[in-house]
């Protein structure tokens, strides 16, 4: 099992020193901005800032390499799909058509399409580093604290963090259950035909669900015994006070958001058009 997949590691860097709240707010505004704009200049700037932040965080490559490859794979798949389903989307958006070469039928490669897909690629590459960075540098306990700070009810915020906490335990249960099932002859590998395989899977899921329900009952009793949920608010051991860095980061994201919006909507269209 790859247990080091996208987990938080304690490091000392300016990014790690930011509070979870700052990072959460930064990440939300950043993603919304990147989703809205198709302005190539803004996206390029954001990509550069994102990469710089990554550099600043000192997170080693192996901590996220697997996920990155996975994302790149789907990224490539997505681009292929866009072209297959609407090869002339760029032409429709930019209103001109500059052909490069013709493949077959309605499939023609145009500069407009290439430019459109470049913008989409930029969107991904602007958001992905930030998403990874958020996950890799935010202490999960602080995550719950910051969710509650942005206004999420602390009971829900805590449930999220506790669910994350129990994933490894449930994985372990699953492994034990599947081992014992395999020993009794339940085959869930590809050697078995699909309907049979699904049936066998259900045989494994039943005990998994039951043991998970048991777990939940136990943990919720333990939490109630320690006074969880009886007050309208709670304090967080891991929450940290704001410092200059946080204000600076929040200021930066507001500037990025505003500037991007202004540049994007200056000429009344979300698309930056170099063909016109």
């Amino acid at each position: 099992m790859n247990t080091r997949m996208l987990t938080y590691t304690k490091l000392d860097s300016p990014v790690h020193r930011l509070t979870g709240f700052t990072k959460l707010v930064f990440f939300i505004i950043w993603s919304v901005t990147a989703m809205i704009t198709y302005d190539t200049r803004c996206l390029l700037a954001m990509l550069l800032i994102g990469l710089a932040a990554f550099r600043l965080s000192k997170v080693p490559f192996r901590d996220y390499s697997f996920v990155l490859y996975l994302i790149l794979f789907f990224f490539a798949l997505n681009h292929l799909a866009i072209f297959i389903f609407s090869p002339l989307e760029g032409v429709r958006i930019y209103g001109t058509q500059h052909d490069i070469f013709h493949i077959a039928g309605r499939y023609t490669v145009t500069w407009e399409q290439l430019f459109y897909q470049l913008n989409i690629a930029l969107k991904y590459t602007a958001v992905i580093p930030m998403a990874l960075l958020f996950l890799l540098t935010t202490d999960p306990s602080e995550f719950a604290a910051s969710l509650s700070k942005v206004g999420v009810n602390y009971r829900i915020a805590y449930s999220v963090s506790i669910a994350l906490r129990y994933i490894p335990d449930i994985q372990r249960d699953y492994q034990n259950i599947s081992f014992s099932a395999q020993a009794r002859g339940l085959d869930i590998s590809r050697k078995e035909k699909l309907p049979r395989r699904i049936k066998n899977m259900i045989s494994i899921l039943m005990p998994l669900i039951l043991t998970s329900v048991e777990r939940i009952e136990k943990i919720s009793a333990a939490m109630e015994l320690r006074g969880f949920g009886h007050k309208p608010s709670r304090t967080w051991y891991k929450s940290r006070p704001f410092n200059m860095l946080d204000y600076a980061a929040l200021l930066l994201i507001v500037v990025i958001g505003v500037v991007t919006a202004m540049v994007t909507f200056y000429d009344g269209s979300r698309f930056y058009n170099p063909f016109g």
Binding site: N176, R184, D187, P207, L225
Partner: protein, 568 residues
């Protein structure tokens, strides 16, 4: 002046799902600053009693209540779980299932966070509690990475951050090895003496708790208080035997030798009991017994040669382990948590593949056999039966393995009925699995393995969490199977189990085999006992105090004699 802090008056409680009250007319008072032990077999109602003290009953587990139950003078029904948590601090069994924090520090302050205590004050109170339970060095560790004893300290620390008056321990020894169990009892005792808090311990392992003195012992039986006595008075009576709670082993030995136990002897502890005229009696009894027989040599059925394994590269769990299991033997594999004992069984069953070494079954290398092929010869019974049960009906559950192997329906029926009879489950064959008790479920899992007629059965902690009666039933059942020629491998740190039932014990420590000998000799070897977190038995200590020249032989003869009596 004694101030009562917990008072039950004619208290009756019935769970909504039950047809009879679990607690019936309980009258019980616990005073401030007392240290009280509550014992009782499974199903006696002792856990229900504990749940009434912390408010889980009636606010989490609902039911009908009558009579009165007061905590610090306030009626239970007028309170809430959260309100009570300021008065009663509960340490539940199985610390693993209740950690909420990602680090020890966060887990310990959980109660304070919920009470919205400001951060600065939280740190101070955390530091004080951590010092008290001696866990300061691990505050930033993940609770799951800790040893059993440290986990227990963390949960206790999480209760001590808040200034509660009553500490309630619900089976604190259940998941601990004997050595760590002793340390926990010492810790509880120290906290009790330093803070003067009221301490209530619910446990069925009486001898282990009595490692440190308690003020009173309350025996619960069938939902009623069967006795409320000092330890000395209780141990001198017959109540424990009648209730089905195991009395300390040294007292059993003394009784066999014909001594009667009186409170004046101070029978609470083997080191302090006044033996007097019992010494010659013990010696005479010892001489009157036959020599314990030498173990015969068993032909090897399963052999591991130089097995090494690690889940991650550069982190080996097992180093060049070689061992052999004889045909028809009962062997224990012991060792502290993380020593690699469960990993060995997973390698034998083929769940993982060793990085080096060979596994031989009847002389044939089985490394290339699949999990399913191995399962036809070697059965594996997991510790938690709920991990194995996937069908609704008992018959279907037991028949599953055969059905998947394409055995004809008539043969299956015959085979399943036969196995259910052996397991004493025939009468329940058309029952739903969910209607069974924990011990019965465990039996169903064993039956579902037996039906495949394996030569070897490996059981992971077969008696964990079971009281004396169920322990006895389970083990006598395994002995019957063994007599029919099935080889049995037990993974356990239960010393009674290995002493009483195993012919041989293999001890692992940090992935290395450090001992392979008869259980009696292993438990007399202080180095091995320490490395494996075991404990010498009190019978051994008794033999030393009685001046018996060969204490090991004394233990062997005692065990043989005791087995003879209990087997009847």
């Amino acid at each position: 002046m004694k101030t009562p802090v917990i008072e039950f008056v004619d208290f009756t409680f019935q769970y909504h799902a039950q047809s009879r009250p679990t607690l019936h007319k309980i009258n019980l008072t616990i005073n401030e600053g007392e240290k009280v032990l509550i014992v009782g077999p499974s199903g006696s109602g002792k856990s229900t009693l504990a749940h009434c003290m912390n408010g889980l009953i009636p606010f989490f587990y609902t039911g009908e209540m009558s009579g009165s139950m007061k905590i610090k003078g306030k009626e239970l029904k007028d309170q809430s779980i959260a309100g009570l948590s300021d008065t009663v601090g509960t340490v539940l069994q199985d610390p693993d299932g209740q950690f909420v924090g990602l680090t020890v520090a966060e887990d310990m302050v959980f109660k304070l966070e919920n009470d919205a205590v400001p951060q600065a004050e939280m740190s101070d109170r955390l530091a004080a509690a951590a010092r008290r339970v001696d866990i300061e060095r691990y505050l930033e560790s993940s609770p799951h990475a800790l040893s059993g004893g440290q986990k227990q300290k963390t949960t206790l620390g999480g209760v001590l951050v808040n200034d509660v008056g009553i500490l309630l321990f619900d089976e604190p020894l259940a998941s601990l090895d004997p050595y760590t169990g002793n340390r926990t009892i010492e810790l509880i005792d120290r906290i009790h003496q330093e803070t003067g808090k009221t301490v209530v311990i619910i446990e069925h392992r009486l001898e282990e708790v009595l490692h440190r003195s308690v003020d009173r012992i309350i025996v619960v039986r069938d939902g009623q208080v069967a006795a409320d006595l000092t330890a000395a008075d209780l141990l001198s009576s017959n109540i424990l035997v009648e209730t089905g709670i195991r009395e300390p082993l040294y007292l059993t030995a003394l009784k066999y030798a014909g001594c009667s136990i009186t409170p004046e002897m101070h029978p609470e502890h083997v080191d302090t009991i006044r033996l007097g005229s019992c010494i010659p009696r013990l010696q005479e009894w010892y001489k009157s017994l036959d020599n314990s027989p030498e173990q015969p040599d068993y032909p090897a059925v399963l052999e591991l040669r130089d097995i090494s394994f690690g889940y991650e590269k550069n982190k080996p769990i097992l180093h060049q382990i070689s061992l052999r299991i004889g045909q028809g033997e009962i062997v224990c594999i012991a060792g502290r948590n993380g020593a690699g004992k469960s990993t060995i069984s997973k390698l034998i069953c083929g769940f993982y593949r060793p990085s080096a070494g060979t596994i031989l079954l009847n002389g044939r290398d089985i490394r290339s056999d699949s999990i399913k092929e191995r399962a036809d010869r070697i059965g594996f019974v997991m510790q938690n039966p709920n991990h194995m049960l996937s069908k609704t009906l008992i018959y279907d559950e037991v028949a599953l393995g055969l059905k998947l192997r394409g055995v004809p329906e008539e043969v299956i029926r015959e085979r399943v009925h036969e196995v259910l009879k052996v397991c004493g489950l025939y009468a329940f064959r058309s029952w739903p699995v969910s209607a069974l008790s924990y011990g019965q479920k465990k039996r169903v899992t064993i039956a579902s393995i037996l039906v495949l007629s394996p030569e070897i059965i490996i059981l992971d902690e077969p008696t964990a969490g079971q009281d004396y009666r169920h322990y006895n039933e389970m083990m006598e059942f395994l002995v019957t199977l063994n007599r029919q020629g099935i080889t049995i491998v037990l993974i356990t740190h239960d010393m009674h189990l290995m002493l009483e039932y195993a012919q041989r014990t293999i001890v692992l420590s940090e992935g290395i085999k450090i001992a392979d000998d008869s259980p009696v000799r292993i438990l007399s070897n202080s180095e091995v006992v320490e490395a494996a977190h075991l404990k010498m038995t009190s019978v051994h200590d008794l033999a030393l105090r009685a001046g018996v020249d060969q204490p090991e032989e004394f233990v062997s003869r005692f065990i043989a004699y005791d087995r003879g009596i209990r087997g009847q």
